[in-house]
């Protein structure tokens, strides 16, 4: 750029414009991996440019850990510190599962924008748009996990499973989170606004995470409630995560989470792709 050029502001047909327009370079078509990585890069840029969206992801879990540990810890487990050993893995489950709804909200927003038309009119593997969004989700899950575990650790969470147990626990929660994010992805294609999607998923997730073994042992619950807790996938997930973090998970605990994740993906992923490909 030379300072001598006064045409910086107005693109009156100058030499630069003509040169730029006459370029006929046609690169080879982007492959599936490369377009997925590119969409993932976009998801990360969006988090970087709109960091406010991380507020919920970080403040919500901090509040929950503090509140539940000190409000109920003494009453439920004798001391807040003892309760925290039980609660921390469960809060991690609740936090990550609650933020899966962002996947749907982000997509719902995107699908209505002109940029989505541009992506669709490009010769790229269509599913890479969704796959790339998942990379952004992974970042969000990891950040939320780091916040929850750090706060819990400061308050005295000392898992017997050590670093490896905790890492495996986070991994298992993420697997399940990816599975159920397909449900929100599918709903995002129907819902009119991101808000309606949020309310819808909240209505579903809030009872699902509370009526489980995240906060208390279900033994004291009435039997009808217990029978729900016993089949709630959040209970399986929490049991397995707690088990992994404390080094006492059984293969059955983990297996049932992996199997239910697989079933959810098997149902919702093809359905979502079918709707997505037909979207106009």
């Amino acid at each position: 750029m030379t300072t001598a050029s006064p045409a910086q502001e107005i693109p009156r047909v100058n030499g630069r414009l003509r040169t730029a327009l006459s370029s006929r370079t046609r690169p080879p078509r982007a492959n599936a991996l490369s377009s997925t990585i590119t969409f993932g890069w976009r998801a990360i840029l969006k988090i970087k440019h709109v960091p406010e969206q991380l507020f919920d992801v970080t403040m919500f879990p901090i509040m929950f850990v503090l509140m539940f540990t000190y409000l109920f810890g003494g009453a439920l487990a004798g001391s807040p510190r003892d309760y925290l050993q039980f609660l921390a893995p469960g809060i991690l489950v609740q936090t990550i599962i609650m933020i899966t709804m962002y996947t749907g909200m982000v997509l719902n927003n995107d699908l209505k924008k002109g940029i989505f038309d541009r992506f669709r009119a490009m010769p790229v593997w269509r599913a890479s748009f969704l796959a790339g969004a998942m990379l952004g989700d992974a970042l969000r899950y990891l950040m939320a996990s780091a916040v929850v575990l750090t706060v819990a650790f400061i308050l005295g969470f000392r898992p017997d499973g050590g670093v490896i147990g905790v890492a495996l626990g986070v991994l298992l929660v993420m697997v399940f989170a990816f599975a159920i994010s397909w449900i929100w992805t599918m709903l995002s294609m129907f819902m009119r606004t991101p808000e309606s999607l949020m309310y819808g998923s909240f209505m579903f997730l809030f009872p699902l995470t509370f009526i489980s073994n995240i906060f208390v042992d279900p033994e004291t619950m009435p039997s009808w409630l217990q029978s729900f807790v016993d089949v709630n996938p959040m209970t399986f997930l929490t049991t397995a995560t707690r088990g992994l973090m404390h080094g006492e998970a059984s293969a059955g605990d983990i297996g049932i989470v992996l199997i239910s994740s697989a079933i959810i993906v098997a149902i919702f992923a093809p359905l979502t792709m079918y709707i997505y490909n037909r979207k106009e």
Binding site: M1, A7, Q8, E9, I10, P11, R12, V13, N14, R16, L17, R18, T19, A20, L21, S22, S23, R24, T25, R26, P27, P28, R29, A30, S34, S35, T38, W41, R42, L45, K46, H49, V50, K112, K113, G114, I115, D117, R118, F119, R120, A121, M122, P123, V124, E280
Partner: protein, 328 residues
Amino acid sequence: MSSGKLLAIEVKNLVKTFGETQAVRGVDLQVPAGAVYGLLGPNGAGKTTTARMLATLTRPTSGAARVFGHDIVAEADTVRSIVSMTGQFASVDEDLTGIENMVLLGRLLGFGWSEARERGEELIDAFGLGDAANRQVKTYSGGMRRRLDIAASIVVTPEVLFLDEPTTGLDPRSRNEVWDIVRALVATGTTVLLTTQYLDEADQLADRIAVIDHGKVIAEGTPGELKASVGAGTLHVRVREPEHRPAAQGILAQALGVDIELGTDPSALFARVENTGGISAAFDQLSRREIDVSEFSLGQPSLDEVFLTLTGRPAEDQDAQDETEEAA
């Protein structure tokens, strides 16, 4: 292509139905390569839906279309590799910066990271957005956003560019900038299909125009042909006080012996005249009755008048069904 003229787009009886609404009811088009082709019509006429079908964003209900010989349904992927679409609403990511948008699209089109950045910077500079390259697009003005939008459409110069109402909502200066870009693009060999509801835009830019109304092409030709089909010449009169218009209409009708039509501007009147006899008498009559005129000219009919003649109503008369909402 028996005429020897290469067709960029060939459309046969294209139909699109959204539920009960027939947005496009059998459009035929033949768009020659290397020119600007205008789809002109009011809101809801079916222009956007037609362009979206050609850009493979919407599946036709029936009918067929080819872009440089490639079927838009069966060979959608090939079509996607040679066309580009700039939608009516900014089709760039507002949360990202200008250069990030360009790198994103360059990558998706197959460039490596550094090539995508190079091409992005080249276009951003050429479009006069160099100073704003690292700002989020949401801080851009309407004109800047539109320029980025068009720049984003030509990261890989397309064979056919669809521009859906490229200047709607722009100030006159930004509109001229967009027009200059379109002309420069066509000069380098790209075919542009432009939808617009602005008659002067079609007149200024398009080599050929199809007038669309209620999902059908009701007239087609060069701007000159369209005007000629309406009549040899048109007398344009504008009264200074709109309340004098009815009186002026009576006087002119009597003096010229033809129907006097009313323009959309409350002070405008016009009449198709076959000869110039009686025109000076008409002018005398108006001044004798002290009806002050701000315009009294004989010339080619404007596209507004063409539309009025073709449809019996002015182009601004918007239809109940709003296709733009439907398509979005």
